[in-house]
């Protein structure tokens, strides 16, 4: 009886090692994405001077790209926490195929979402640091130092999450070949 793609087979013991590695990588990705979402969401810098009508304050929701970044990071970290259950299931039963394929597909979607958010935030951070003379966009980092540092630092966590998600997809692919 030849095994088809949607049938349980007997898995080699290396699959359990792959599943354990998968679990730990997911924990690292959760920490990275959650930290970057929190770091971006808690930005709030008020400059010590103000004019009569305008108060100079920078928060993440002043820029829609940063709002999208916070939302995307939160969604991906919530998904990763929920997928820990599947990861534990794969450690317990290393020969499941359908759930591994499902996890691979969802990991791909999550990686795309996280990368889109990180890229949007990176583009704005680059603009904020350097400005752009040709379109008359002024570099706001020269005034809002702390805001800029915090925002740039939160990008590191989300890029680490993207790299870990790529590794997770590769691991799922390798585990699918061993059955």
């Amino acid at each position: 009886m030849k095994p088809s793609a949607l049938q349980l087979g007997v898995a080699p013991p290396e699959n359990r090692g792959i599943a354990v590695l998968d679990f730990f990588l997911r924990l690292i990705a959760i920490v990275g994405t959650l930290a970057s979402a929190i770091a971006m969401a808690t930005t709030n810098q008020t400059l010590p001077f103000f004019s009569q009508f305008v108060r100079f304050r920078a928060k993440f929701n002043d820029l829609p790209s940063f709002t999208f970044f916070v939302v995307a990071s939160s969604i991906v970290s919530a998904y990763l926490i929920l997928s820990l259950a599947f990861s534990i299931l794969h450690i317990a039963k290393a020969n499941l195929v359908n759930t591994r394929v499902l996890l691979l597909v969802l990991d791909t979607a999550a990686m795309g979402l996280l990368m889109a958010g990180s890229a949007a935030a990176t583009a704005i951070v680059q603009l904020a640091h350097k400005g752009n003379n040709k379109v008359n966009w002024f570099a706001i980092c020269q005034q809002y130092n702390d805001f800029c540092k915090r925002v740039s630092g939160s990008l590191i966590g989300s890029y680490a999450g993207v790299v870990v998600l790529i590794l997770l997809i590769l691991l799922s692919g390798v585990a699918l070949t061993r059955r």
Binding site: T108, Q126, L170
Partner: protein, 204 residues
């Protein structure tokens, strides 16, 4: 749960029925030899769809790169010192966009041979794992390019009053339309690449 004894099935060959069989039948093989044609049937189908999707992805990524790279709008008025011109390389995010989409189109073209190998030999696993990994990296690259350009395009359309960034689309209309179209094409390429990953996952 297997018992201690094994049963050996000796099938009656046509030669035996005609009386030409040898006296001692050869021991049957432990596994029947599977016919080659239906074994990788659905995998071959998925691989063909994979090649078609790759061609579509090349069109999308190349279209995005060309649309962004050929932007050049000069406004009909100018002052004594400045001429108002908008090009893609005025913004580093757009330069990265053009380069990344060009890389994606080249990658998709170069992996068509690997995909064809998957059609011809559907039971091979190594090319599919390679394709899954490289497709994933390419999804990351293309999404980075598309997302970065999308946020700049959004700024160009809407501006940002808190950061005092004016909306340049109100002046540079054609430039804005071209860059928006390029971003849409790039996101199409991302969707195509994600479909390719899902296809390879189902074919593994």
């Amino acid at each position: 749960m297997e018992g201690d004894s094994t049963t050996i099935n000796i099938t009656e060959t046509p030669k035996e029925r005609k009386g030409k069989a040898p006296l001692l039948a050869a021991p049957p093989a432990s596994k029947p030899v599977a016919p080659k044609a239906p074994k990788g049937g659905y995998k071959r189908c998925l691989a063909i769809f994979d090649v078609v999707l790759r061609l579509a992805g090349i069109a999308a990524a190349l279209g995005a790169a060309i649309a962004m790279g050929s932007t050049d709008q000069t406004l009909p008025f100018f002052t004594q010192f400045f001429q108002f011109k908008a090009q893609f390389d005025d913004l580093p995010a757009f330069t990265f966009f053009v380069i990344a989409n060009a890389i994606t189109a080249a990658y998709l073209a170069l992996t068509i041979p690997i995909s064809i190998v998957c059609i011809v030999r559907p039971h091979l696993v190594a090319p599919r794992v390679i394709l899954i990994f490289l497709d994933t990296v390419m999804v990351a690259l293309t999404t980075a390019a598309a997302g970065g350009a999308a946020s700049i395009v959004y700024l160009a359309h809407n501006g940002n009053s808190d950061a005092n960034w004016p909306a340049i689309c109100q002046q540079f209309n054609d430039f804005c339309q071209e860059i928006s179209g390029a971003v849409v094409a790039s996101f199409l390429a991302v969707v195509v690449l994600m479909f390719l990953i899902v296809l390879s996952a189902f074919a593994l």
